[in-house]
């Protein structure tokens, strides 16, 4: 069997199945990660002393724990206290927690960059605090957070590979299974790597289009383009 046949007839079909799972993991995690990030950042910034402390603690704990350990806790640990999750669910929850914690840091930075006067002005116009946050602060802050959030999205793509360690056969896992079966390691993982590079590169391009699309003329600061 030559390399060409191996890559196109065996490896790529297997990887496509894995890629579907990888994309499912990302699609299930990213939106909730964003929502969690916004919630935690807003809680830290605008919540009372107790809520903001809880949010800060959450970020500190999640950022300090390796994601792989977090996945082990969710998948292998939780059943011992009576909560059994499927591997896919455990992975998604782990990614949401991790993604949310990191996202919250960027969103918080963006919230801090919006002047206090805007909140005061909004309240002077009769908006409630929640309305002001939703209609005045967040629309500006989220735009400023796009470069950071897109970095985290790219990390999510790459760290979704860790789901394989708790038995979810996604892209890396599919590659590993083929590699082990045919004893062809270097080529297999290079191809797997290229698929990730394609995903990451597509995301980078998509983010720069998004950034242009949502930018409000005259309000953008010189934000650096998203890095990988």
């Amino acid at each position: 069997m030559d390399q060409f046949t191996f890559i196109f007839d065996i490896l790529l079909p297997a990887l496509m199945q894995g890629l579907v799972i990888t994309l499912q993991l990302i699609v299930c995690s990213a939106p909730f990660g964003l929502v969690l990030g916004i919630g935690v950042a807003a809680g830290r910034q605008y919540g009372g002393p107790i809520l903001s402390r809880i949010c800060k603690m959450f970020v500190l704990l999640i950022k300090g724990t390796p994601l792989l350990l977090l996945l082990f806790i969710l998948y292998f640990g939780l059943p011992s206290i009576g909560i059994t999750l499927t591997a896919f669910t455990a992975a998604v929850i782990g990614f949401i927690l991790c993604n949310g914690a990191y996202n919250s840091e960027y969103i918080r930075g963006a919230l801090l960059s919006i002047k206090d006067g805007q909140m005061i002005a909004a309240q002077a116009l009769g908006m409630t605090r929640a309305q002001a946050i939703r209609n005045v602060i967040l629309p500006q802050a989220l735009r400023r957070a796009i470069p950071g959030l897109s970095n985290e999205f790219i990390y999510l793509i790459k760290y979704s590979s860790l789901a394989y360690m708790i038995t979810v056969v996604e892209l890396s896992g599919a590659g590993k299974n083929v590699a082990t079966k045919y004893f062809i390691y270097t080529e297999t993982f290079m191809v797997v790597g290229i698929v990730y590079l394609v995903l990451v590169t597509i995301t980078t391009v998509a983010v720069s289009i998004l950034e242009k699309h949502v930018s409000v003329p005259g309000t953008s600061r010189s934000t650096s383009a998203a890095q990988m």
């Binding site: 792989l68 640990g77 011992s80 790459k158 860790l162 993982f189 990730y196 990451v200």
Partner: protein
């Protein structure tokens, strides 16, 4: 038997896990500086083909998941070039280091580029060679500017080192999961491991921030360039 006494029984094994994790992190960070700093200089000061090659390297190592890189080097590249007998620890440290170099080079590059070009021109006009100017004028400033960003590489490297579990390095996470399979006590052991990682994380950051303050030059902050 309760969790605490199990942890005490296994404490020396846990200690070897911590030592292995810290060994991985320190070697990889060191390798990252050794490779990342020259790469940053190359990206700023050298010819187009060199810049291009470094760009490809950075793109490759930052675009691939750490798990895939570990698999690629452990199962593929090292045995492929006849180094199949190299211990997993060495492969893990090298992979983390090569990947760290790609990230660190970009931190250093940003710092170097933040120093105005006039300084290089001024140094040259004083008769310094390009090399001396970089060594005595540019780098002492750039390294100080880079340090706060560089400090973030430590927690990243620490959490990434746990992925070395996948190639069987007996670092903290591997040790933890082995204790779990021996004792059937899952949650307390995993949570203890998380606690240790968090302590290592913030302890290390404290040391790095102290270092930042120590090498700080009064009046010369990263904002005051």
């Amino acid at each position: 038997m309760d969790a605490l006494s199990i942890l005490i029984d296994w404490s020396s094994y846990i200690a070897t896990g911590i030592a292995t994790t810290l060994g991985l992190v320190l070697i990889a960070l060191g390798l990252g500086v050794l490779l990342g700093l020259p790469m940053a200089l190359g990206q700023v000061y050298s010819s187009r083909p060199v810049r291009w090659a470094i760009g490809i390297y950075v793109w490759f190592f930052r675009g691939l998941p750490i798990l895939v890189l570990l698999f690629l080097f452990w199962f593929g590249i090292f045995p492929g070039i006849g180094l199949g007998n190299v211990p997993a620890f060495v492969v893990g440290a090298i992979v983390l280091g090569l990947r760290g170099a790609a990230y660190q080079s970009q931190i250093f590059r940003g710092a170097i580029q933040s120093i105005s070009e006039g300084q290089m021109i001024a140094a040259r006009s004083l008769g310094m060679s390009r090399f001396t100017a970089i060594k005595s004028v540019i780098l002492p400033q750039a390294v100080r500017i880079a340090l706060p960003g560089w400090s973030n590489e430590y927690p990243n490297m620490l959490t990434d080192s746990a992925v070395c579990y996948a190639i069987g390095i007996t670092e903290l996470l591997t040790v933890t999961s082995r204790i779990v399979t021996q004792t059937y006590l899952t949650m307390p052991i995993f949570l203890a491991a998380a606690g240790i990682f968090i302590l290592l994380n913030y302890g290390g950051l404290k040391i790095l921030h102290a270092l930042e303050r120590k090498i700080e030059i009064p009046g010369f902050g990263s904002g005051a360039v």
